[in-house]
């Protein structure tokens, strides 16, 4: 028999049930919200990746620096904002996907994958002189050589020590090097002429008081400029930053420089410096002993003034992974020499529209007009002594630039922040 107070007991039970049910409702609701958050987040991440793929596939059709808003699948749900801009020899691609309150951005540095046919070791222009090899010289990979071919030679008391002169296919070269990709030149010469982009934020280097600047590629490019010389020492510059001087830039060994570009008539990099930078000059570039330029770095010389003979020098034990090029754009008869010293190493692509004093190693490809070997006792034309040019030693994953042919193919060089 039910006793009095049973309604009180019933209310207590009801309260308990309500509490448990309320807890379940909250749990269920939270689970739904988390799932929705995960699904949308996942969707925008995938969409930003698709946007990046879209930039790579339509790179040639996209105008540099111009923003494009794209509805990926024509469903009004998958929108991406795409921007592509030139960054030295490379391109920066920014893809930002948006959905509801979610946003996700992917940024990458794009380059050109080296196709098997463009993975040559040496292209030596036809100058009616054979290539002479001495000492422990190694040529590995496809070589384009003058008609007179390649021969053994004896200089500085050293004979050729290898079994085969060329470890790879031999082809005949033309009188002139394949022309350098013109589209790469235009943008970089503009900055050398202090002709900045319309969207750049230009700041006088002397007015900038800081010692650290890390600037995302999602924002406008910061250009630190000066009419006089600039010394980059004891400072950190990373990301979307360009340094332009109208006279000279001197890079100290203690500077922390990553991803930025330097434009100046003359650039001097002090011994011991390590970083990933692109350097463009129109008079000379000097890389001191032991300097290490990480991938993807560039040393580019557009020689348009008479003067320094040794215009681009890679000193002993210096290393660069990326691209090195020297192009005469004013007077074709200008005396011009590029020097790659003993124990210097270039991993990547080298294009020298001049004489090359080659004593180091190149893992990758070399385009060159003529070798001009300077020794204490003499100067030898088209001679290589204790040199290695090895296309096979270059990583299969190396992504460079279309130096001699404009390519629509794109690949990711590195992810950016």
């Amino acid at each position: 028999m039910l006793r009095a107070y049973s309604i009180l007991h019933a209310l207590i039970i009801a309260l308990l049930i309500a509490t448990v049910s309320g807890g379940l409702i909250m749990y269920f609701s939270l689970q739904q919200k988390l799932a929705a958050h995960y699904l949308w987040k996942n969707r925008v991440i995938e969409n930003s990746h698709s946007g990046l793929q879209l930039i790579m596939g339509q790179s040639g059709r996209m105008e540099s620096g111009k923003e494009a808003l794209v509805d990926l699948f024509d469903n009004q749900k998958d929108s991406v904002r795409l921007v592509k801009k030139n960054w030295g020899l490379f391109e920066v691609a920014v893809s930002e996907a948006m959905a509801r309150e979610h946003r996700h951005q992917k940024m990458a540095l794009l380059g050109t994958p080296l196709l098997p046919e463009s993975r040559l070791a040496l292209y030596l222009a036809e100058q009616n002189k054979p290539l002479a090899l001495c000492g422990k010289t190694i040529l590995k990979g496809t070589c384009y050589l003058p008609r007179s071919g390649v021969k053994r030679a004896y200089i500085e008391g050293q004979n050729f020590e290898g079994n085969e002169l060329v470890n790879g296919e031999k082809r005949t070269s033309q009188k002139r090097l394949p022309p350098l990709n013109e589209s790469l030149k235009k943008v970089n010469l503009a900055y050398l002429n202090a002709d900045f982009g319309a969207t750049d934020s230009v700041v006088q280097f002397d007015d900038w008081q800081g010692d650290t600047l890390r600037h995302s590629f999602a924002h406008k490019t910061v250009v630190l400029t000066e009419t006089g010389p600039i010394r980059l020492a004891g400072i950190t510059l990373e990301g979307n930053v360009i340094v332009v001087s109208q006279t000279e830039v001197n890079i100290g060994s203690d500077a922390i420089l990553n991803d930025l570009i330097v434009y100046a008539p003359t650039v001097y990099i002090e011994a011991g410096f390590e970083g990933a930078i692109q350097v463009f000059a129109d008079e000379s570039i000097h890389v001191s002993e032991g300097v290490r330029l990480r991938y993807p770095s560039t040393l580019g010389l557009y020689k348009r003034t008479a003067g320094t003979t040794d215009a681009l020098v890679l000193s002993e034990k210096s290393r660069i992974a990326g691209v090195v090029f020297c192009q005469k754009i004013a007077d074709g008869r200008l005396p011009l020499r590029v020097v790659i010293e003993k124990d210097a190493l270039v991993e990547g692509q080298v294009y020298v529209d001049a004489e090359l004093d080659m004593k180091g190693r190149i893992y990758g490809s070399l385009y060159c007009n003529k070798f001009n070997l300077k020794t204490p006792s003499s100067v030898y034309e088209n001679h290589l002594l204790n040199v290695e040019i090895n296309a096979d030693s270059l990583s299969d994953h190396f992504v460079g630039v279309g130096l001699v042919n404009e390519s629509a193919e794109k690949a990711i060089v590195k992810w950016l922040q």
Partner: protein
């Protein structure tokens, strides 16, 4: 002491039957509500299935299955994964194509769907 005695002998003024009926209504109502919530939570298995389906697509993408145009994940047997690679070119670009993943349950109901754009270098070759 007298008060205590009066309290012990006093009859309670309560309608036990009415109280009991009200209590039963309250308890029944509470259980009914609880049951609805319970069924709702049980129904959230559909959400779990959807999340599993999304996870399967993630795994397939990470394994690059669409590159080989074949599936190779150890997915639950009661789910089906369909991969559609658009034979046409995305936006007229030869090197771009649309890849679509769809995961369905055993009744053929769509649990998750994902579309991607895939760039193929050397597509002209």
């Amino acid at each position: 002491m007298a008060a205590m005695k009066r309290w012990r002998t006093q009859r309670l003024k309560a309608a036990s039957l009415l109280e009991s009926l009200a209590a039963m209504v309250i308890i029944t109502g509470s259980f009914a509500g609880g049951m609805i919530i319970y069924l709702n939570v049980v129904g959230s298995n559909r959400l779990d299935a959807r999340l599993v389906a999304e996870r399967i697509i993630d795994l397939e993408i990470n394994q690059g299955a669409f590159l080989q145009e074949e599936m190779h994940s150890g997915m639950p047997t009661d789910l089906g994964l369909e991969l559609t690679v658009d034979s046409g070119n995305y936006n007229g670009a030869v090197n771009l194509r649309t890849v679509q993943y769809t995961v369905t349950n055993k009744l053929g109901k769509k649990l998750a769907e994902r579309q991607l754009i895939h760039y193929r270098p050397h597509a002209e070759d």
